[in-house]
Symmetry: none
Subunit: 389 residues, 2 copies
Amino acid sequence: MNPRLEIFSQGDEVVTGQIVDTNAAWLAQQAVSFGFHVTRHTAVGDRIEDLIALLGEIAQRADCCLCTGGLGPTTDDLTAEAVATAFNLPLVLDTEALAHIEQFFAHRQRVMPASNGKQALFPQGAQRLDNEYGTAPGFAVQVGRCWFVFMPGVPSEMKPMYTHKVQPQLSERFALQPSNLTTLRTLGIGESAIQELMNSIAIPDDVQLGYRAELGEVQTKLLFPFAYAESEKAALVNQIAAQLGDTVFAIDHTRETSSDLISVLNDLMTQGDYTLAVIETVSCGLLTSLCIGADWLVEARYQPALISTEQTDLQALALELQTTSGATFALVQLYIGDKNGVMILRNGLLTPYGFYATTQTIAGALKRKQHQSALSALDLLRRYLQQKL
Amino acid sequence: MNPRLEIFSQGDEVVTGQIVDTNAAWLAQQAVSFGFHVTRHTAVGDRIEDLIALLGEIAQRADCCLCTGGLGPTTDDLTAEAVATAFNLPLVLDTEALAHIEQFFAHRQRVMPASNGKQALFPQGAQRLDNEYGTAPGFAVQVGRCWFVFMPGVPSEMKPMYTHKVQPQLSERFALQPSNLTTLRTLGIGESAIQELMNSIAIPDDVQLGYRAELGEVQTKLLFPFAYAESEKAALVNQIAAQLGDTVFAIDHTRETSSDLISVLNDLMTQGDYTLAVIETVSCGLLTSLCIGADWLVEARYQPALISTEQTDLQALALELQTTSGATFALVQLYIGDKNGVMILRNGLLTPYGFYATTQTIAGALKRKQHQSALSALDLLRRYLQQKL
């Protein structure tokens, strides 16, 4: 039997519904993939009695508990105090943690407010988990059968803390038999079209098939049981990849890899030492924004006034962009139609070896169109680079 | 004391993190604004023992429980059975419900699978809640102090059921006294700096103070009890707004309003019939992307090669942008430093009445810098438009 794990989210903003608790789902996915049996999620607000009661319950039921929230500097951040009271572990000042927090402020040339000092107090016997992206350190403590891990509620601080400080300890502390996940990532095809293509493929009973649709992208997921034969796994994955064809832009062979379109493009552009210039319309800066950190994007223009007709010369626009920017590739996106209705999207890609264009229809809310148009333009570049045009 | 309400979500897909539980947040918001004290959310998977245990716990603690999921026709839909067992209320066939379900299939010219018959079985004494958008009826049952409401997990079925069948019963069944939330939204100041400023302000004991930090933005939240005197409320909010000064970009006086920076800018730009042109560097398209749908953004350029020195003439760049774009305002962002280290951000805003510039330090991960730099540039425009420069 896999060890039992619970997720615990603290905060009035969660319990009153001001924010959707995405941390719980993210941590649960991580834990399941590592081989835990996730049995329960609980969220309570910033009331010390509720926190103490819940900690006591979980200590009886679970082998591991992943908690988020309540580690900030303010008076409604009560986690350390609740742990201290619930388990009779007095708070102790960690001078190293205090130095880290002071450093965080010094680094930003700000004075540390006195209230941040509280973030260096931990229940006796706890292991400190440093926070690379914020002031709130986390901590972990074993209470009876249960290993409690407390992390910040801000996802951009919690996720790296989990990945770098918590996950490496799990395999030492627990006897886990993780299942194995393979994800085929596709663009330019819908979930039901994929399901139809998959009908002709026999999926073994012990392999679990699932789908997940995000904006524009569909993921086909295969969950293989622990110690499934590698050769059989490879044969099945290859058969499915062949069936889905050039819509597949990446295959993630483990849960830990996550080859999104940008990381795939990053590899291809960097290997070829290529550069890109872009003109955006419908995607309104999102295409550029997704390329954050990519040195190969040398210029981008958002020119909302550039509405095209069927006749507008995409290729001439791309050529002008390529010439003025000096980039290897010029990617231009125009549209026909009203932004609140159904739109026809025209992507044009000028490369040193020719010009490629696509036309497609997009509909739905403005943000959905923004996202889909950004991905569809970048996917044209991806297909060119993967020699699928 | 407001009645205590808990949210209960059932389903393996929630507890394993395959889906994010948006139902819980939505229901919690509804309940809070109606005057409930929401004390806990819990999610468990499709295991009958877990369901029975949780139902028993909640019946002891809460006055009302809103549950979603587990009402479908398949073998992993166990809610009615769990309620029957937990509270010793044998399942009874509701012939009217069965007729509804049969009708649902007849209407779509499909044969009703035998398994759907199970959806017409309810615990003795339960009140049926018809489902206008699917086959699964919900039900409600009073057990001791707690009124349990069971709804489908599919949001498009659950929300109308809550709104039309559940909410109208709440004011009859409970003496509700909704509290009132005011949110002061600030940019350019940290959570702990706000807390220091707030130290000098006396918050009455019956007013609950809380904070929430998002990327760049901090929200100071005041929860006023039912029937709190409007004049006292206004006085306190004004005192805090004065203390926080020009960092306050909006004040939301109810839970239903949500004035983010872009909506505030939208109002100001549209009222003045102004237009904006932008040069982005660190924010890499995100500033533009956040303005999706805003007709006042007439041009944006991402020019990563534009690294500034202290001497680079922000004003000259802004003037050139204003001239070529014809926009009312030209907003230019440059930076000094390496993108992986601490950066100095320089924002320049050229208006018809003068040039304004700010300098600040940013640090952290690339995406964090991207977000903070986009907000800080837009916030310079906001301060100008609100006449706070």
